[in-house]
């Protein structure tokens, strides 16, 4: 055994507060989710693409000196060129401008519907879940029945009755679309309302409205956001579908669906006119779906495999 002389040791003392102090900065739920999302390359690429899309939807139509509704019958069905970057359609309208106007409409429809679905679904699901019992029973039976009604068929019927137009699409799709969100929120609220912080809030005399809005919904925000991200591409797809069968928004306003529909008239000669809106619909659907997957992994770590 080697003798180690005592003077080689130094008493530094025990500092309780120092050993207990947190070295790394504490991370909130949202920071943590963002950190996880940043590691997901596919989701980040999707996010970047979507931001690009939004910027182009805002500024794209002003990048070329053409109006989206301006017809030029001497220059119909032109291929890609320096003047018309994406060519022109069968009425000589500049497709570059129309594609980005279409992006505006398609994105507006998608985001608005997702937002309205969320507002209605969260309110309805929150109330049903919080009050439980007979209230929940009746409210959820109504949802079950609405859920059984074929979505697209009801939307088509509503479009026939209310007439075509941007807001009719939105109304029709929100009337049928909020049900899924209501189910998700109810499930979340049912789990959350048994927890202690709700009991504490109740004891302090918080009203049911306050508990739902301030305590339950913020804790269920993860699944709500994920569900909204998946609602957007669904809405864009449904709008494209409706436009394709001629029930979409009215000309000269364009959405990607109406652009695809316009292109079918000249499909055999100029397939490019279909490929462009088709490409944007597809990539946008893909980006939203991938971002949704990424957000689900980031916001709900329990779901990760």
């Amino acid at each position: 055994m080697v003798d180690i002389s005592k003077d080689k040791f130094e008493i530094i003392g025990a500092n309780a507060s120092e050993s207990q102090s947190i070295v790394r900065p504490s991370i909130s739920y949202w920071q943590d989710a963002w950190r996880r999302l940043k590691m997901n390359k596919v989701a980040m690429a999707s996010l970047v693409f979507l931001i690009f899309l939004v910027l182009m939807a805002i500024f794209g139509p002003y990048m070329r000196p053409f109006d989206y509704a301006h017809q030029d019958l001497f220059n119909t069905n032109k291929p890609f060129s320096k003047v018309h970057w994406f060519g022109t359609d069968y009425l000589g309208r500049d497709l570059f401008v129309r594609v980005w106007m279409g992006a505006r409409v398609s994105l507006f429809i998608g985001v608005t519907i997702a937002f309205l679905d969320a507002v209605i679904g969260v309110t309805y699901g929150g109330i049903a879940g919080y009050f439980g019992g007979q209230v929940d029973n009746i409210m959820m039976r109504i949802v079950d029945i609405l859920y059984g009604i074929p979505y697209l068929i009801l939307v088509i019927l509503l479009m026939v009755v209310m007439g075509q137009g941007l807001w009719t699409i939105i109304t029709a799709m929100v009337m049928t679309g909020w049900v899924g969100m209501a189910r998700i929120v109810r499930g979340q609220v049912l789990q959350l309302k048994e927890q202690e912080f709700v009991l504490a809030a109740k004891t302090l005399g918080a009203s049911p409205g306050r508990i739902i809005l301030r305590h339950l919904i913020p804790n269920a925000l993860g699944p709500i956001i994920v569900s909204m991200t998946f609602d957007v591409p669904n809405a864009i797809f449904s709008e494209a579908f409706l436009s394709y069968i001629g029930l979409g928004i009215r000309a000269p306003l364009a959405s990607w669906g109406t652009l695809a529909n316009d292109a079918t008239q000249v499909l055999l000669m100029y397939p490019m006119q279909l490929f462009i809106p088709g490409f944007f619909i597809s990539v946008t659907m893909l980006a939203f779906n991938m971002l949704g997957d990424g957000l689900r992994d980031a916001l709900d770590p329990r779901l990760r495999r």
Partner: protein, 309 residues
């Protein structure tokens, strides 16, 4: 199980009733009556015509007549095709749609399962990437784009198959592929995930240890367990295929019900829209019901959880 089925059945009836009522009152919210656009007729004749179709009665009485007719399977008379009942048109055009739908479902389910199983067994291999590629296309590209691309490439350019129309089997190939695409991709993706879950389970090791052949393990232990989650999505997927026929029939000019439905929207043929909407809804709701029951039959856990209490 009987209890559960009965409950689902009652729900199905209520759903159908809600749809019928909703469509009826929605259609009657449209201003005017079917004879407003006709050429000027004397007021007396107009009144007689309204009386013949009970349109002079209060709405609730009309609703009663309508329900009564529906129960007897009478959907009314088309406003566009004179002297043809909606029943007639449906009877004539539904078989084509039906064949298309069935073929697509079979195609989508069988190949979806097959791709999913192979992708899971050969994880990381070429098949896996191929099925992932298919899934990405299936999720993101709308079926009308896929249909037009197939038509353009295989029929119009390569001339392997007829461009459009309806007749022998070869006319059905392209539309069926286009229609089944999203079903195929979603099922293959779900089956892959679900198979990977099962492959890691202990009972697979047990099966291997007791010397079962590879094929027996795959069929009896993996596939049978992995298929459960896939059955649950079948309902929405069938709904997708049925609504998909609206555009696919349009693109391939197939004289099916979907084409008539879309045409009736252009024609503003309200009784036709009303009739076909109800017909489609009933078919879909019944399909959903059958899928639910099938799920209960396959998976005993569902019966115990939902019906047994």
């Amino acid at each position: 199980m009987l209890n559960y089925s009965l409950k689902r059945f009652v729900y199905m009836l209520i759903t159908i009733w809600v749809i019928v009522t909703l469509t009826f009152f929605l259609m009657h919210m449209i201003p005017g009556d079917p004879f407003t656009s006709e050429k000027k007729v004397p007021e007396q004749i107009r009144q007689n015509m309204l009386a013949k179709y009970h349109l002079d009665k209060p709405l609730i009485v009309q609703y009663g007549y309508y329900l009564n007719n529906l129960i007897h399977g009478d959907l009314g008379i088309s406003l566009k095709y004179l002297n043809r009942t909606v029943d007639d048109i449906i009877k004539q055009s539904a078989p084509a749609s039906f064949q298309l739908g069935i073929q697509s479902i079979i195609l989508g389910v069988i190949f979806g399962l097959l791709f999913g199983i192979i992708a899971a067994l050969k994880r990381g291999g070429g098949w896996d990437y191929f099925s992932m590629f298919l899934a990405i296309i299936g999720i993101s590209v709308p079926n009308f784009i896929i249909a037009t691309l197939l038509q353009l490439l295989l029929a119009s350019k390569l001339r392997w198959l007829p461009v459009s129309g309806w007749g022998s089997f070869k006319y059905t190939i392209l539309p069926s592929i286009a229609l089944s695409f999203s079903t195929l991709s979603i099922i293959s993706r779900m089956m892959r995930t679900s198979m990977l879950d099962v492959i890691g389970q202990d009972y697979i090791k047990t099966a291997k240890a007791k010397g079962l052949s590879q094929l027996q393990i795959i069929w009896k232990h993996m596939v049978r367990n992995a298929i459960m989650p896939v059955v649950t999505v079948l309902g929405p997927l069938i709904a997708g295929i049925v609504t998909g026929t609206f555009v696919i029939e349009q693109i391939f000019s197939i004289p099916g019900l979907g084409k008539f439905f879309v045409q009736s929207i252009y024609d503003e043929d309200y009784s036709m829209i009303l009739g076909t909407t109800i017909f489609y809804s009933v078919i879909l709701v019944v399909m959903m019901f059958l899928v639910d029951i099938a799920y209960g039959l396959i998976d005993p856990r569902v019966r115990l959880a939902k019906g047994g209490k």
